[in-house]
């Protein structure tokens, strides 16, 4: 329950049973159990569901999710344990003694069918008008149990209004089956806590504080709840109809930038297993759909590194040389709009720690509507910029009132992986079959440093490659540029790199141990921020925080389902793709160099950069949504 002074919101009874291990190799005691009259040995304390998974015995689930604490509320996973009066929810029943389990006895089958019929009787909506058609866990179960009529009737009228107030998240509670995955995601996984159950009994519903629209509460738009919703009750605010309209309008010059994470995951929407990157196939598809230009967000990821890295060096200089005590260190990354809004709500007094650099998405928007428009001689008013993002919060970000530095809305639409996959399908294209093609000029191919932004630790790794080299003139002292401490899926990571034999202009950094931290998921961000609050991060210089578990590749706009395993595979795909790229350092990206020589001539953090590529934050606290 406690990790230092950090207290988890997860009820104690829902935390996994911890087994004392004498050595790391010891898996604890084994218990002999019987499942469906077959004998198995399982580790003491695991749940019946986990035991069944170990031996490939299928048990249906709805409220259970690998990323979340146990709820045991849907009861669909009930199994019979010999000698017990009632059936037991297999997701929550720990095996602590030799028991005999039946996973599909008559009682179990009858009960499951009853529970399913009860859920269906309250689930309003027809499958063919649902965004989750063919990817719905309730629908799948109905098929599995051969539901061919509504035993206990079926609701004929919706009883809730659909909440479309948010730029990012749409809530249709008529489809909600009260599994509470979203509640657990919001409270326990992300530690935001805008969703909770309201009322009692039959009137129970999942809602926000005072039943307000989701846009009026402190939702950070991370969309993790969407990724874990078993039905279509939660979805993203889909702009694809308006994008189609722009594409079909010959006057509009529609450009799209694609982020690395959707490219590593979009294959899942087309039936490929997780871990297949379709970057170049996607370029072809986007052209076929009718986008006028396809750009790589990694270009502005490289630009972000230049701006954010320079900002860090400036802060270090001000702190070390000028002894300026108003300078805030550590500097936090600001690429993740979910994290930025989380910080604005929960740590409004620490916003000056955030890098002022915009996210790659917003930088690209600003560059397209200024530099690109100028170069190509197009009226920026006719340009529509679309951003393919793994993220629901990006939709909110591009609608922030301050994001109009180009004189126009910098990015017009944030589009998620799922929504784009739908557009591609609608165009009759099977993405995996397409030939490969390259990104368009003038931004062309980006560096691998920008690509790894998609995985947690990627921004840090990219920044270190550049900062270290700028300061010392040498490449980072890691094999093949792989800064291993930055990689992995541990919630909070900490490491350091020593700066020695630095160049003359960076003499003040000689011998400095550059300490950095990485956190992903706002629950982990909270751990870091609580340390910062207590003044425990005085010697840390740079912190990367991503709002979603796993970083962007686990974002709220990514293909459903998600699990630690799927996120791991997506990360592997990203790292594999990057290892094969010719340029892997942001400052070596020739297009970035060109941009600084032609357009942002004062260099990173110069006057024009500040106008176009940097932003400000709002102290939102609890009262400003």
């Amino acid at each position: 329950m406690t990790d230092g002074n950090y207290v988890s919101r997860t009820p104690v009874s829902q935390q996994p049973l911890k087994i004392e291990q004498s050595s790391p190799h010891d898996i604890g005691g084994l218990v002999e159990i019987e499942i469906n009259s077959k004998k198995f040995k399982v580790p003491f304390g695991i749940t019946i569901l986990e035991a069944c998974k170990l031996f490939d015995i299928h048990v249906p689930t709805l409220c259970h999710h690998e990323d979340l604490c146990i709820a045991g509320v849907c009861r669909i996973c009930s199994v019979e344990v010999e000698g017990m009066r009632t059936l037991q929810a297999s997701c929550s029943f720990p095996i602590t003694q030799s028991i005999k389990i039946h996973t599909s006895s008559e009682k179990v089958r009858k009960s499951r069918r009853h529970i399913l019929d009860l859920l269906l009787s309250e689930h309003y909506g027809e499958c063919y008008s649902c965004v989750r058609n063919n990817n719905c866990e309730l629908q799948k179960l109905a098929k599995e149990y051969g539901v061919d009529f509504y035993r206990f009737g079926h609701v004929k009228e919706p009883y809730y209004d659909i909440d479309k107030s948010s730029y990012s998240i749409v809530r249709d509670m008529n489809k909600c089956i009260l599994c509470r995955r979203c509640v657990r995601t919001c409270i326990d996984l992300q530690e935001v806590g805008v969703l909770e159950a309201l009322n009692r009994g039959y009137d129970t519903k999942i809602t926000t504080f005072l039943d307000k629209p989701i846009s009026e509460v402190i939702c950070i738009n991370c969309g993790q709840c969407i990724n874990r919703c078993p039905t279509g009750a939660l979805r993203t605010n889909d702009p694809s109809d308006i994008i189609w309209e722009a594409i079909d309008n010959p006057k509009k010059h529609v450009v799209i930038q694609t982020a690395p994470s959707p490219r590593a995951a979009i294959g899942e929407e087309f039936g490929l297993p997780a871990g297949n990157s379709l970057t170049r196939e996607l370029n072809t598809a986007l052209k076929m759909i009718g986008f006028d230009r396809v750009f790589d967000t990694n270009f502005t990821a490289d630009l972000t590194i230049m701006e954010e890295g320079t900002e860090l060096l400036n802060r270090l200089k001000a702190a070390i040389v000028d002894k300026d005590e108003s300078v805030k260190l550590p500097q936090f990354t600001s690429c993740s709009p979910g994290w930025v809004k989380y910080c604005e709500h929960f740590y409004p007094d620490f916003l000056s720690h955030l890098s002022t650099a915009k996210s790659p998405q917003q930088m690209f928007g600003a560059v397209i509507k200024t530099f690109y428009a100028q170069e190509e001689n197009i009226d920026p008013a006719d340009i529509v910029t679309v951003a393919l993002m793994p993220c629901s919060a990006k939709k909110f970000e591009c609608n922030r009132p301050e994001m109009v530095d180009s004189g126009f809305k910098d990015v017009d639409f944030g589009l998620t992986t799922r929504e784009l996959a739908q557009m591609i399908k609608e165009a009759g294209i099977n993405l995996p079959d397409l030939p490969k093609s390259n990104f368009d000029e003038p931004f062309g191919e980006a560096s691998g440093a920008g690509l790894i932004f998609g995985a947690t630790g990627g921004v840090m790794e990219a920044a270190l490659r550049s900062v270290y080299e700028i300061v010392t003139g040498r490449t980072v002292p890691f094999d093949n540029l792989v800064i291993s401490p930055c990689r992995g899926m541990e919630g909070v990571r900490e490491a350091s790199i020593k700066l020695e034999n630095v160049k003359d202009e960076w003499k003040f950094l000689e011998g400095v141990e550059l300490k950095f931290m990485i956190a992903h998921g706002t629950a982990n961000a909270k751990k870091v921020m609580e340390k910062l609050k207590k003044g425990e991060l005085k010697d840390v210089h740079f912190v990367e925080i991503m709002g979603c578990p796993g970083g962007c590749l686990g974002g709220g706009g990514q293909p459903i389902p998600t699990s630690p395993e799927i996120r791991q595979k997506r990360a592997e795909a990203i790292y594999k793709e990057e290892a094969e790229l010719p340029i892997r350092k942001s400052h070596e990206n020739p297009h970035v160099v060109y941009l600084y020589s032609k357009f942002l001539t004062e260099g990173p953090c110069g006057h024009l950069s500040h106008k176009l590529l940097h932003t400000t934050y709002t102290k939102r606290g609890n009262y400003i949504a």
């Binding site: 829902q14 720990p94 009692r200």
Partner: protein
């Protein structure tokens, strides 16, 4: 005049100096004495109290808690109200003795919100015990520190379920937890917690005063001791009665002055309904278990209306967490309404009875597991009559 019954356990003289005697015993001996007495939980589920205490006493933890479940919410039950007003000190003594036996530091009384008027009385009793050094630091010089705190519920029926009560006590939404782990292992704030009914705890000083054997000799083999019963409905003398376990329904009805009886609801809304023909059945854990309520209906009553009332209660009082209870109760209520309108087919009624069975075995807590009881028992016992009427 009927023979009004005499108290069996709950007579002031039975308690004597049981409290002082208990504190002179070793903690484990108290647990053994309670186990020896055969006392079972008086909240309705009937879990052996001694076993519960033994589990908590042997658990290794830096903190332990005792919770007195005074969230008396079962319709037709009001015996804890009487105990808390007439036997306040004995209840508190029971909590302290339990704390001493399992080595807890704090005891909570989770008082039903509607019983707010008792707060000052209970607090005064707590203060009195403190003044007498029977509560607080170094109780009676035994080196045992114990505090009792009073907490008020907010009107949710489900908070009488022990794990929901603990959630509520912790400040969360009152919803039952997954079991196992049980509260005796992982309870309030994750520490071993004994949750006992008011009546269970109040009995303890008497058992320690007069001995386990005295208590064992009351009642039946499987149901030792006596039971407080709140009697209401079509009777001449409603009120709280103390009876030994094994008392026949026939005698009970005679005692309370019931006439022209048609049905008896035993154990409140979540209990079972029997017809007046089953007079020879008895009140005990082995036959008709009850948390302490009997509601008597005479021949003028409409059983379907009664059932509807109960089902409306459950639809509202389900915590809304698990599927079978949240939606199942609504479907049963809908079924009752359909019968009322004459729209319920026999096949659908059968389906609903089968759904009731499913709810009994798949619901997460005792509420959902027992809420189909009135539906099943009333429609089984009085089905013909009801279907003939509608």
């Amino acid at each position: 005049m009927p023979i009004l019954n005499k108290p069996i356990v709950f007579a002031k003289e039975n308690f004597g100096d049981g409290f002082e005697k208990g504190l002179k015993m070793k903690p484990i001996d108290i647990v053994l004495a309670v186990r020896e007495s055969g006392l079972k939980g008086r909240g309705g589920a009937g879990f052996p109290t001694g076993t519960k205490w033994m589990l908590a006493a042997t658990a290794i933890a830096e903190k332990k808690f005792v919770v007195c479940n005074a969230d008396e919410g079962e319709p037709g039950t009001f015996k804890d109200r009487v105990l808390l007003t007439e036997f306040t000190e004995q209840v508190l003594q029971g909590i302290i003795l339990c704390g001493y036996a399992i080595r807890a530091q704090v005891g909570y009384i989770y008082l039903r919100g509607e019983y707010e008027y008792m707060v000052s009385q209970i607090n005064n009793a707590i203060q009195k015990l403190k003044n007498e050094n029977k509560l607080g630091k170094n109780i009676l010089g035994k080196g045992f520190d114990f505090e009792i705190e009073l907490r008020l519920g907010s009107g949710a029926y489900v908070c009488g379920e022990e794990s929901a009560l603990i959630e509520s006590l912790e400040g969360n939404r009152g919803e039952p937890r997954n079991r196992p782990p049980y509260p005796v292992n992982t309870g309030f704030m994750g520490y071993p917690t004994v949750v006992n009914n008011v009546e269970t705890l109040a009995t303890i000083p008497a058992i320690l005063n007069l001995g386990s054997d005295w208590y064992r000799n009351i009642g039946t083999d499987k149901s030792r001791g006596s039971k407080l019963i709140s009697v209401s409905g079509d009777v001449e003398f409603p009120g709280v009665y103390e009876i030994p376990f094994g008392t026949k329904i026939k005698d009970m009805l005679e005692l309370v002055g019931a006439k022209d009886t048609k049905a008896i609801q035993i154990g409140g809304a979540s209990g079972t309904c029997i017809s007046a023909k089953e007079l020879n059945r008895n009140l005990s854990f082995e036959d008709l278990p009850t948390g302490g309520s009997i509601i008597v209906f005479n021949n003028s009553r409409n059983m379907l209306k009664i059932l509807k009332n109960f089902m409306e209660f459950f639809v509202e009082e389900s915590c809304g967490q698990c599927t079978p209870c949240r939606i199942g109760n609504k479907k049963l209520l809908d079924g009752v309404n359909m019968i009322e309108k004459g729209e319920c087919s026999v096949a659908y009624l059968k389906e609903l009875l089968s759904l009731g069975e499913t709810m009994r075995i798949t619901s997460k807590c005792g509420l959902g597991q027992s809420s189909p009881n009135p539906f099943i028992s009333i429609l089984t016992t009085f089905g013909d009559e009801i279907l003939a009427t509608y």
